[in-house]
């Protein structure tokens, strides 16, 4: 899946003063690419991720996601594209506390079935398989509060891949984990990504994580200051 951002600009106004968070971002992500967006705090990484995923509308510029111009769609139409084609991994896991691990993984699958009237076969079996692949086969009926941080992020990984997304957006996926656990999660993420042939856009501070990407885009002050291919795809 191709992502094309052209002339992206995001300005927030606070107390009557305009704050330009992103400035003239032009970025193309190739299908099945693996891009890490890095940069200091406040450089606009997360804002860029939100715009690329269609979670917010840019002040100027456009985003094209798998051929869809996000700016031309309504919020519900963008939601439908997310449900069908996009997976998310968050820094603070964002599991739904009232659902078990299995139910959390099922949420996007069932949602896609409802929206597209298209089933991916045995939904629950796929959810169980994913949980097994992240090493949590015996934790399916645990609630998030009963899981460790690493386990919670692994459930989140299983959820992110549950609806066979074409692109996965990850926002500091190791930010809330110790380095040992973080490494396990990165390994799983990279492994699932290549198995599922997903495009991966990753925002991170973590140099080790960024090092695993095939391309590193560096932001500073809302602008792209470097864009390097670190290893050939």
């Amino acid at each position: 899946m191709m992502i094309i951002a052209a002339g992206l600009e995001q300005t927030y106004s606070s107390l009557g003063r305009a704050l330009r968070v992103l400035d003239d971002i032009n970025l193309t992500v190739e299908p099945q690419g693996f891009v890490a967006v890095v940069g200091p705090s406040g450089s606009g990484k997360t804002t860029l991720l939100g715009l690329l995923a269609g979670l917010d509308q840019p002040t100027a510029g456009s985003v094209e996601l798998d051929g869809h111009h996000l700016g031309l769609l309504t919020e519900d139409e963008r939601a439908r594209i997310r449900a069908e084609k996009v997976g998310f991994v968050f820094q603070n896991f964002q599991l739904i506390p009232t659902l078990t691990a299995l139910e959390n993984v099922l949420v996007p699958v069932e949602l896609r079935r409802v929206l597209t009237r298209r089933s991916v076969g045995n939904e629950e079996q796929r959810a169980r398989d994913l949980l097994a692949r992240v090493g949590l086969a015996d934790r399916t009926h645990h609630y998030p509060a009963q899981l460790s941080a690493g386990e919670q992020q692994r459930v989140a990984l299983a959820r992110a891949f549950a609806n066979e997304p074409k692109v996965l957006f990850a926002d500091e996926p190791t930010g809330n984990l110790d380095s040992e656990t973080g490494r396990t999660v990165i390994d799983l993420l990279v492994q699932l990504n290549s198995e599922e042939r997903t495009t991966l856009v990753l925002v991170t501070h973590d140099n080790e994580l960024a090092g695993r990407a095939r391309r590193v885009v560096r932001l500073s002050g809302g602008k792209i200051v470097s864009d390097q291919i670190t290893r050939p795809g």
């Binding site: 995923a53 519900d76 939601a79 997310r82 449900a83 996009v86 964002q94 506390p97 009232t98 069932e110």
Partner: protein
């Protein structure tokens, strides 16, 4: 077939919200219980009256006259009886009864019965079955209160006039009469055969003559009424059929039940506010989940449905609990309201009412839940990435519709529950105005607090007071919840206090405590002499002249009554018997509001040919549609006297004095047949009893009203009324408490965060506690004061405009009420925040980051 996604998610999500939303259930349950119980009871009561309508009258037809039946009417009665229709006579009058054994006296309501009355239902006695036995000899059945006040027992002798009767039993139930009478009334049933022996009928005392009939079939009754309607009307004989009596009772009791229902409705609407704040808190907790759902592609409508389904389900559950609770209350209502009921009300389940309660409860829960739930639609998916993302752009139009739906619900429910459209509309308007005022006052108070902020106050006080207007403050929510509850309590209390204070006897020496009436012209001097000789003051001697209205502004009354094009607004003032007086000066309880009082000099000195002047009471003037200068012709014992209205008076009827609708100028009625009322003041109860005994022995026809016992009776009646209202108001107050807890919970989340931050940077628990105390005390002060003030205004309006009485604010009691509200608010606030103080900062921070 798979279940829709929203239902699956609602079910999964709801697992943990059930406990959190329990509060929400509770607040709707109380309201539903109040509405279901009173409406079920109303249905039961209507059924009961319908089933026993004949027993309410004791017959199919009653004829009633203030004079012995005129010969023409008596002829009709005799012919009916001759056709084999069972016929009874009941003669009723007020008289003094003297207990021979104890020498005590009291005014009793004597009823002399001949024939088989009552034909339907039965008069129950203790010991049972005495009703049938008293007919044949000089026996009496009396109310229990007669025994108590005369200090006698069954078997003792009672003198009425010159006759004596042995008390044969106690009345426990008389069909068609309110249970009040058993406790307070002074009914004495005697056999009609011995009525003549009392010698009282010849003294001209006010007597009501009644005839009762039991017909074989309704056609006979209808035919008879059609035939003699005009004759009865011309002779001022009133009639009442079982059906008419049934309608009267249904109307009166329906009115009472509907008014109580309105009080219950307040509980339901308060419950709605409780739902709104509980759902608000719930949505706040669910924001991260909602953001994630939106982020991974759930459409707005799906997410909204997930939560609306949960709210609807819990609303239905809350309403169902309310219905069950309502049935429990319904089972007990007949006992609580028994004093007002003319018959036993058998309790049965009213399925329609229960279903209506369930639907209304669910609807109110849903409609109040929608407003905070709209926030769900507004959650931006970006929030999943950025917790602090501000997604407060409001979908204004939807909010507008939600508010409109709440308003429409409030108005429809008021109209549905109220006895008529006017009352319903007034009730809805009062609710709306009160809510708007509470909101406005909270808003103004926030403004003022910000402007007049006590900058030099101690840190805790400054923090606590600043919490009143900071973002996420709870000022409006608490003022609404507490203010409404306090408003209700204050209105009820202030009105009750004022009504009671009106009947409190003035202790000043010129105020009477004893009213002696039915004194004949030739007895007047002797009675005055007895009173003065015992050293009691004669506070006034007033003549009473019975009369009826014959013409108004030249039009004969009969013609006015039969006018079908322009019927009189009210028949009662045209057909009733008046007890008029004449005097040259105004009484203390009177005030001229239009025209002029005749001055002392001119009274009786105007030309013989001049039309005599009268003064008329303002309400009567309104009902007769007459004003100054209009002529009214009176029938005084057969002699017609034309009069002109000289002025209109306002009369304070609550003052226990001899008050009159119509006062003649002196010199006109001096020679007319009349009796006298003498008032005196005897402070000591024993002396009062002795004076009454002496008078009864000397003049058996002279009746005395002990105003002290009248006052006690009125107080007892008002107490019962107040109890019934308070019982229904209890639901509102309980709902109000739940709403208060809910309102405080709304901002609890932010309070905890603030306190934890303060504690993290080193604040002690004591400081946090002082901040919270300052905040909740201020809220209590504001909400309590607003509620008390608005309630006092409502009470003042009710007393001044509805009861037309002088208003007096019970200041010290209101102050106590206010302080109690402050205390309760502070205590509930502190209890609600106890885990803010109990947990370590780290534990709370962890909890909040989840």
């Amino acid at each position: 077939m798979r279940k829709p996604y929203a239902i699956t998610m609602a079910r999964r999500e709801g697992r943990s919200s059930r406990r959190r939303l329990g509060l929400y259930m509770g607040s709707i349950s109380l309201g539903v219980a109040a509405v279901v119980s009173i409406n079920s009871f109303r249905a039961n009561m209507t059924d009961a009256i319908h089933g026993e309508s004949r027993a309410l009258l004791g017959a199919d037809l009653e004829l009633r006259s203030l004079r012995p039946f005129p010969s023409t009417v008596q002829g009709v009665i005799d012919s009916i009886e001759a056709q084999g229709t069972p016929t009874s006579y009941v003669t009723t009058f007020a008289s003094m009864a003297l207990a021979k054994k104890t020498g005590k006296t009291r005014l009793v309501d004597v009823r002399a019965v001949t024939g088989g009355y009552p034909y339907y239902g039965s008069i129950e006695t203790v010991p049972p079955g005495q009703w049938q036995t008293i007919q044949s000899s000089r026996l009496a059945l009396v109310d229990p209160s007669v025994l108590v006040q005369l200090d006698v027992a069954v078997g003792d002798t009672l003198s009425i006039g010159t006759a004596a009767f042995v008390i044969h039993g106690v009345l426990s139930k008389v069909p068609g009469e309110l249970a009040f009478f058993a406790a307070l009334g002074g009914r004495v049933y005697i056999p009609g055969a011995y009525l003549g022996e009392t010698g009282l009928l010849e003294t001209g005392i006010r007597t009501v003559h009644r005839a009762f009939f039991a017909f074989e079939n309704d056609e006979t009754l209808d035919e008879l009424m059609g035939q003699h309607e005009t004759l009865l009307q011309d002779n001022q004989v009133r009639h009442d059929t079982a059906t008419e009596r049934e309608q009267d009772f249904v109307q009166a009791l329906d009115l009472m039940a509907r008014f109580l229902g309105l009080v219950g409705l307040i509980a339901l609407l308060l419950g709605g506010i409780g739902v709104a704040s509980a759902v608000h808190v719930f949505v706040k907790h669910r924001l991260p989940t909602i953001a994630v759902l939106r982020c991974i592609g759930a459409p707005q409508s799906t997410v909204f449905s997930i939560y609306l389904l949960q709210a609807g389900l819990l609303g239905t559950l809350g309403a169902a609990v309310g219905v069950a609770l309502g049935v429990v209350v319904q089972l007990n209502l007949p006992r609580i309201l028994q004093d007002f009921l003319p018959l036993d009300v058998p309790v049965s389940i009213e399925w329609i009412t229960l279903l209506t309660g369930l639907l209304i409860g669910t609807w109110v829960a849903l409609i109040f839940a929608v407003l905070p739930l709209l926030e769900v639609r507004e959650v931006a998916p970006l929030r999943a990435l950025r917790r602090e993302f501000d997604d407060s752009q409001r979908t204004g139009v939807k909010r507008y519709w939600a508010h409109a739906a709440i308003l429409a619900t409030m108005i429809s429910l008021s109209l549905w529950q109220a006895p008529n459209w006017t009352t319903g509309a007034a009730f809805a308007a009062a609710l709306a105005v009160t809510t708007a005022l509470l909101w406005l006052i909270a808003w103004v108070a926030m403004r003022i607090t910000r402007r007049l902020f006590p900058r030099r106050a101690p840190y805790a006080v400054r923090q606590g007071i600043a919490n009143l207007y900071r973002p996420h403050n709870q000022t409006v929510a608490v003022t609404l919840a507490v203010g409404f509850g306090v408003f209700l309590i204050t209105t009820l209390y202030v009105s009750q206090r004022n009504l009671l204070s009106q009947v409190e006897l003035d202790s000043s020496p010129d105020r009477p405590t004893l009213l002696l009436f039915d004194i004949q012209r030739d007895q007047k001097d002797s009675v005055e002499q007895i009173v003065s000789s015992l050293g009691f003051p004669l506070l006034g001697t007033t003549a009473v002249v019975p009369a009826r209205i014959s013409r108004v502004r030249g039009r004969p009354v009969a013609q006015m009554l039969n006018d079908t094009i322009n019927p009189p607004p009210n028949r009662w003032p045209l057909t009733r018997e008046y007890r008029n007086t004449y005097r040259d000066s105004l009484a203390g309880s009177e005030k001229v509001v239009a025209g002029e009082w005749w001055s002392r000099g001119e009274a009786g000195r105007r030309p013989e040919t001049a039309v005599p002047l009268i003064s008329i009471e303002e309400d009567l003037a309104r009902q007769l549609v007459v004003s100054i200068g209009d002529h009214v012709t009176w029938d005084v014992q057969g002699i017609l006297i034309d009069t002109e209205i000289a002025n209109i008076r306002q009369v304070d009827w609550a003052r226990f004095e001899a008050n009159f609708f119509v006062v003649f100028e002196p010199g006109v009625l001096d020679e007319a047949p009349q009796t006298f009322v003498i008032t005196t003041r005897v402070a000591d109860a024993v002396a009062r009893a002795e004076l009454q005994r002496d008078l009864v022995l000397a003049f058996p026809n002279v009746a005395a009203i002990d105003l002290t016992s009248v006052q006690e009776t009125v107080e007892a009646v008002l107490d019962s009324v107040a109890f019934a209202i308070r019982f229904m108001a209890f639901f509102s107050i309980a709902s109000g408490m739940i709403v208060l807890v809910g309102a405080l919970a709304t901002s609890r989340y932010h309070r905890i965060r603030e306190s934890v931050l303060l504690r993290t940077i080193g604040a002690r628990k004591g400081l946090i506690r002082r901040i919270l105390i300052t905040e909740y005390t201020s809220l209590g002060v504001l909400a309590g004061l607003t509620g008390v003030a608005l309630g006092s205004v409502a009470g003042w309006a009710a007393i001044t405009y509805m009861f037309r009485l002088q208003f007096d604010a019970p200041q010290s009691s209101l102050l106590v009420l206010w302080l109690a509200v402050v205390l309760v608010t502070a205590v509930i606030g502190l209890l609600n925040s106890r885990d803010v103080l109990g947990k370590t900062p780290l534990a709370v921070i962890r909890e909040m980051s989840d």
